[in-house]
């Protein structure tokens, strides 16, 4: 009997399973999507500065995802707080600036500040969340997508300045920091 005949034929099932991705969440991060927003020079610098203040393992490219995570969590917290009432936003919050005042966010740029269109790259879930928050703010205050994203950036800045130092995190991955944000506000 030859050597070749001794080796069992390869299993069809094993061949099928080999190198196949598991079902559910993909093994590698899904590529981010381009979302177009108009940002001021100050906001672009803000993204750069915040990336430097975030824990190791988080890069500049992750900042938009984190900004949307925090925006989504805080809007959800606001919605839940008034869920028993017949409005999604409390009576005294009459415009976007009132939201800044409610949450004690100091950074607020006037509408007429010059802005440049640019693309930010968002993971699939944050891009859906941005759409959801933008839709709600647009319906109530006619807020555009750039202003919605700007609010997220300012919320992230507040988080980096006031909450993050107390958490004392040196190294962290994007998913873990997202979870920390959600746990902190919801």
């Amino acid at each position: 009997m030859s050597k070749k005949e001794n080796t069992p034929p390869p299993s069809t099932l094993a061949a099928l399973l080999k190198d196949k991705p598991k079902r559910g969440r993909p093994l590698r991060a899904v590529s981010r999507q381009n979302v177009y927003v108009a940002l001021t020079k100050k906001q672009k610098a803000q993204i750069k500065e915040m990336a430097a203040s975030l824990p190791k393992g988080i890069t500049r490219a992750d900042v938009p995802d984190l900004a949307i995570a925090i925006l989504s969590a805080r809007m959800e917290a606001l919605r839940r707080a008034v869920s028993g009432r017949d409005r999604e936003i409390p009576e005294g919050i009459t415009d976007l600036e009132s939201i800044y005042l409610l949450w004690d966010i100091s950074v607020y740029e006037a509408k007429d500040t010059p802005r440049k269109w640019t693309s930010i790259r968002l993971s699939p879930q944050p891009s859906i969340e941005l759409g959801r928050v933008h839709g709600m703010l647009y319906a109530i205050f006619s807020t555009n997508r750039s202003e919605t994203f700007g609010l997220g950036l300012d919320l992230l800045q507040q988080f980096v300045e006031t909450v993050l130092p107390d958490l004392d995190i040196e190294t962290c991955e994007l998913a873990a920091l997202r979870q920390i944000i959600i746990d902190n506000y919801l």
Binding site: R85, I93, T94, S98, L101, L102
Partner: protein, 295 residues
Amino acid sequence: MAIGNQLDLEFEQFSPNWDRLGVVVPPFTIEADPRFMYLSTETRRALSKVSYMVEAGQGASVIVGEVGTGKTTLASWFHSRYQRRPDFIAAKIDESPKKSGLLLLRRIAAEFGIRTRRATEDQLNEFRALLVEQSSKGILPLIIIDEAHELSPEQFVELRRLLNFRDPRGGKAFQLVLLGRPELDINLREVPDFNDRVATRSSLDPLTPEDTNSLIEYRLLAAGRDSKQVPLFAENAILPIWRETKGYPRSICLLCLHLCLELLATNGTQINAAFVTKFLEDHHDYRQAGSSRFS
């Protein structure tokens, strides 16, 4: 004859023609009218924080401010807005009864339209019955107390007992907004049990020169003046007005009312810095002159 009396006499003989200023109603009435409420940054901050606390069922909110910073206007705003909402019933106490906790409860009960009782426990039971009735419909009672710096420790005790009532969701059943002078903060320190239950504090500060300008423009716009017209108040008139009034909204409105009347009396067209200075020199006691008859 005193200058104030002279002014009174002159004004009595003078019926202001507001049309000439391009407005349909007097723009600088000093009555607490929510239609004329100018939202400065501090007012907006107070509005957003307090309305959030009220709707989230957080219990007591406190707003402090000096005389003439717009507390009563804010109280009227809260009352008028929440009274219109189907998911709220609102009671506004403009001046609380002196000292007695029971009398305060009776006044609140009367505002809600429920039965008033002679014993505190009975009165609290009436409030309990109101809660059972309203919470089944998803309605939240809101109590607004203006001039809250006049409340006595005994009255704070009764308000605290109201705050202890819970709604079916577990939140505070009665929502309370207290507005008063800065002494309110000092009084609250003497009642720590109540003070611990305060969810948010806001303060109304005097306006900046920019806000003073915005208030004047807003009032004229709300009174019907066309924004395309030449400004009634020249840019250089704002600083002397702000200096004289120290940025207190009621004082700004009173001075602007007198400036408008003076402009009408002298057939002028615009109020500028020289006009304001001359008016203040000639009528330095304008505050004593009557104003309500022209509104």
